[in-house]
């Protein structure tokens, strides 16, 4: 459904904007999470087919002719994986932020540029 693509893309753009402008590391991670949410919306929307039902064959009608009645299940399966992986990555990223914070007592990303050039 095209409107959802639009929503997803806008969310991604907001996330990118946040990643580019927010100095707080937690906010950068949040921004990445927004990008991911937008992306996942787009992915699921790619599998949507108008007027069809969820890929759960809980009626005889569906069992008999699934291919013409359900939406594409593959993007859903992929997004399922992507969500879990995304959360795992975010958790790890936050751990890095916590540890970094303990080193310099600040969350500002601009303070962490000892490595450069």
């Amino acid at each position: 459904m095209n409107i959802i693509h639009v929503i997803g893309f806008i969310l991604m753009l907001i996330g990118f904007w946040g990643m580019l402008t927010q100095k707080n590391m937690i906010k950068i991670v949040l921004a990445l999470a927004i990008v991911e949410t937008g992306l996942q919306l787009v992915m699921v929307a790619f599998g949507f087919i108008k007027g069809r039902t969820a890929p759960i064959l809980d009626s005889a009608e569906l069992v008999n002719n699934p291919a013409s009645m359900i939406v594409d299940p593959v993007p859903q399966a992929l997004v399922l994986t992507a969500i879990v992986i995304g959360v795992a990555v975010n958790a790890l990223m936050l751990t890095f932020v916590i540890r970094l914070y303990q080193k310099k007592k600040t969350l500002s990303i601009t303070e962490y540029k000892d490595l450069k050039w």
Binding site: M1, I3, I4, V6, I7, I10, L11, I14, G15, W17, G18, T21, Q22, K23, N24, I26, K27, V29, L30, A31, A33, I34, T37, Q40, L41, V44, A45, G47, F48, R52, T53, A54, P55, I56, I70, V71, Q76, V79, L80, I83, V84, G86, V87, N90, A91, L94, T95, V97, I98, Y101, K105, T106, L107, S108
Partner: protein, 85 residues
């Protein structure tokens, strides 16, 4: 069908607003919660997209646990002075 469209557009607007809010507000807790709200709306949209599995996952993991982990992280870095962007 039209009604559904309207709902989606409304929710989309809400998501976009809370996403922007999450990026704009200074208070980190609000911004974490705002991102959680984005996920929550997303999971409703997934339902409308005939993806109940994804909806459940997004609600439980994306909106729930993820927000919680963020809050814990905030807790551990709480004496951070508020940054002005």
């Amino acid at each position: 069908m039209e009604l559904q469209h309207g709902i989606i557009i409304l929710m989309g607007l809400a998501m976009i607003l809370s996403a922007i809010l999450a990026m704009v507000v200074k208070d980190l807790i609000s911004s974490v919660v705002a991102v959680g709200v984005v996920s929550l709306f997303a999971s409703i949209i997934y339902l409308l997209l005939q993806a109940p599995d994804v909806a459940m996952t997004e609600a439980a993991i994306g909106a729930g646990l993820s927000t919680l982990i963020f809050l814990y992280a905030l807790h551990k870095t709480k004496d951070a002075e508020e940054e002005n962007d």
